[in-house]
């Protein structure tokens, strides 16, 4: 036992079943004073925030992953269990547990409260969403509830202004209680018999303390009649996904262009103010375009998370998983994987970040592994450049343009390979481990509150810039270094990159990449192309000594037509479907999985697929006489 001096911050933890509005309460109590990190050694998100009690005590509040029981079944729930039991070496054991419950759905929460009592730490039950319960005519007798449970009970409406005032007022009282002596923990994993007994006890308490209205609220049932309809439900889901895809893909574009132009102008400014040479190149190509290449993703991430958080708060996400479970399940993916995978058509980075909606770590990892195979928008400039230069613009089958068919084929190859890889990953890595069952509560629909959603979006944005920014930025500097050193000798005639380490690597790779039809110029362009796929277009322009980069795509296309054979062009297309040509994606995979291993696995398997695909494409095309 430790007696804390009043000046030291107290440690309170929020615990509760999924959909209890725990995170909304956390947002309401801590506002934007939040920190999101990972627990050491695991990929579970650790959310903490600071708050001040009216009496001036500062409290460090931790939002624990949602759970139905302390009997841990996933890494998320292990974190909750170990944290609550004070088993985490790096974490201070909580002085007070705030168990959050949805007032309209108390059955499972009360069983959890009964289990938490055995932890031997001060405990408080927070009846969240009390406003909704009252509006529906659910009458909860707080005194009976508190007496029967043997736990203080307080009401809250996290999403309402002033909805947490009662709780804040009680916090000082609770803080004093938190300093009191604790009883010893007697918790151990409950047996089925104990679970049954606890649920019977919880049901008995509900019968004593809660009066349900004579006429239950049927809004959710009526909405679900349409939204969960086997056919209409899927159609509505697809329409929703289409709007979301459009939003991430095209609504973000003006903002992204603006950011691009802004950084372009900044780069030009640096170019004109700094004296020519290394410093100028470092600031312009290393720092400014490096930072710019990270920030440019921000609009997509903001829009995507806005949609995800709105749908999550609305209660629709669980329904979407229900509708998609069978379809995604065929490829060994979880029903919730479709939103991350769909977002990956815009960019794999927000897609990989969105895998956080998948609570099972194994399903989440599979989704992260295959997300980069979805054809992201950065591949489009490369595809269009090569297609418009090499594929004749003619109509086939009477109605389809050949160029369009090739483009569609590239997209389809990406999707099919993602499904194939996830099925293979399931077979290779998780053959022994059991298929996790799909069991999910479908919460009642609730109107999302702008304040809570915006706090969530803000936290994501901050996290993206903070975490991915540092790793991506250092990779950009490395790529700049490779493309810039050593400097060209005096009197050199070719472009600078011809004399750099990148060119040296390009030549060194020739024996390896020649079998797939790549010449050394392509190899050189692949290196700055690691920064972002579309950079390869400008890099090809540079190695073929064409000024102007992307704006001059048609001229680059002409140069390619002179220097490449058709099999080479097709091999480059096949390469780009699979190749792990994006340092930012790899960095985000490292961040999100918390391990170099999964980043290496992704890099290796994509590289292998790219090589095999390009090799096959090249040789089939040559054999068919296209060379």
């Amino acid at each position: 036992m430790s007696v804390l001096s009043p000046s030291e911050p107290l440690h309170f933890a929020l615990i509760g079943t999924p959909n209890s509005g725990k995170t909304a309460l956390f947002n309401a109590l801590t506002g934007s004073r939040q920190k999101v990190a990972n627990y050491p050694g695991v990929t579970v998100e650790r959310k903490s925030g600071l708050l001040q009690t009216p009496g001036g005590r500062s409290v460090n509040l931790i939002d624990l992953p949602g759970t139905y029981s302390l009997r841990a079944r996933s890494p998320d729930e292990e974190v909750t269990r170990d944290f609550v039991l004070g088993r985490f070496k790096s974490e201070t054991a909580p002085d007070l547990l705030l168990c959050v419950a949805d007032s309209t759905n108390l059955r499972l929460a009360l069983r959890l409260v009964l289990e938490l009592k055995r932890v031997g730490r001060p405990l408080l039950l927070v009846l969240n969403m009390i406003d909704i319960a009252r509006r529906r005519g659910i009458d909860i007798d707080l005194d009976i509830l508190s007496a029967e449970l043997g736990v203080p009970v307080i009401t809250a409406a996290a999403v309402r202004r002033g909805g947490t005032d009662d709780l804040m007022r009680r916090l000082d009282e609770l803080a004093a209680a938190a300093d009191a002596v604790r009883t010893g923990a007697t918790w151990q994993a409950p047996t089925p018999a104990e679970l049954r007994a606890a649920q019977r006890e919880a049901d008995r308490i509900i019968a004593a303390a809660v009066k349900m209205p004579a006429k239950p609220d049927t809004l959710t049932t009526r909405l679900d009649a349409v939204l969960l309809h086997p056919v209409a439900g899927l159609v509505i889901l697809l329409a929703l996904l289409f709007v979301m895809f459009q939003a991430v893909f095209s609504w973000a574009q003006p903002l992204m262009d603006l950011i691009n132009d802004g950084f372009g102008a900044l780069g030009a400014l640096a170019h004109s103010t700094l004296p020519g040479g290394l410093l100028q190149s470092f600031v312009e190509n290393g720092v400014i375009s490096g930072v710019g290449s990270v920030i440019v993703f921000l609009p997509q991430i903001l829009i995507l998370f806005l949609f995800i958080l709105l749908l999550e708060d609305l209660g629709y996400m669980a329904r979407a998983a229900f509708l998609m479970d069978r379809i995604m399940g065929g490829a060994g993916l979880h029903g919730r994987a479709f939103i991350p995978l769909l977002s990956s058509f815009a960019c794999a980075i927000p897609g990989i970040m969105a895998t956080r909606v998948i609570d099972n770590p194994r399903d989440r990892l599979t989704t992260i592994l295959v997300a980069p195979l979805m054809t992201c928008s950065a591949r489009i400039p490369v595809y269009t450049l090569i297609i418009s230069a090499f594929i004749p613009n003619r109509t086939i089958w009477g109605f389809a343009s050949l160029q369009g068919v090739v483009m569609f084929g590239l997209y389809a190859a990406g999707i099919l390979s993602a499904l194939g890889v996830s099925a293979l990953a399931k077979f290779l890595f998780w053959r022994e481990s059991p298929t996790p069952p799909f069991m999910l509560e479908l919460p009642d629909y609730k109107l999302p509150r702008p304040r809570s959603v915006l706090t969530g979006v803000y936290t994501r944005a901050k996290m993206f810039l903070h975490r991915a920014g540092t790793t991506i930025f250092s990779m950009m500097v490395l790529i700049w270094f490779l493309a810039s050193f050593p400097r060209p000798p005096a009197g050199a005639t070719g472009p600078d990159i011809d004399y750099s380490l990148a060119a040296w690597i390009g030549h060194a790779l020739e024996p390896v990449l020649a079998p797939i039809g790549f010449n050394w110029q392509i190899n050189v362009a692949l290196i700055p192309g690691m920064a972002a796929r579309e950079v390869a277009v400008a890099a090809l322009g540079t190695v073929y000594a064409i000024e102007g980069g992307k704006e001059n795509a048609s001229q680059i296309g002409q140069a390619l037509l002179q220097h490449w054979s058709l099999p080479t062009a097709l091999a480059v297309l096949a390469w780009y479907i699979f190749a792990p040509q994006c340092a930012s994606t790899l960095a985000v995979i490292k961040r999100e999985t918390g391990s170099w291993r999964w980043m290496a696995v992704t890099f290796a398997y994509m590289l292998a697929l790219a090589y095999v695909a390009a090799f096959a494409t090249y040789h089939v095309a040559v054999a068919l006489g296209a060379g």
Partner: protein, 94 residues
């Protein structure tokens, strides 16, 4: 746990996993047969209990998926839970 034969029990008992949409009844037992789940022994039973599938609770199948009428959305007392038919085979109802 042993499942009584339908003929031996007074009320007809069936697995929730076989029930049609619109079915209403009460849970009589949670009985995991071998092969119902890939989870370790006893794990599925505890998970079902933790989601509120306890003996005596009222259940109704509200919705089902398009393919193979799977998964199903089950109203259990005052909450709704989505579950695959495979796991619902362990929930006996009457």
């Amino acid at each position: 746990m042993r499942i009584p034969e339908p003929a031996m029990s007074e009320v007809i008992q069936m697995a929730l996993g076989l029930a049609q949409r619109g079915f209403r009844g009460r849970i009589t037992a949670i009985a995991v047969q071998p092969g119902t789940s890939d989870l370790p022994t006893g794990e599925l039973e505890r998970r079902l209990l933790e989601l509120g599938f306890t003996e005596g609770a009222s259940v109704e199948i509200l919705h089902e998926g398009l393919f193979g009428r799977d998964p199903i959305a089950v109203r259990i007392n005052d909450a709704t839970v989505a579950i695959r038919r495979r796991e619902a085979m362990a929930i006996l109802v009457s």
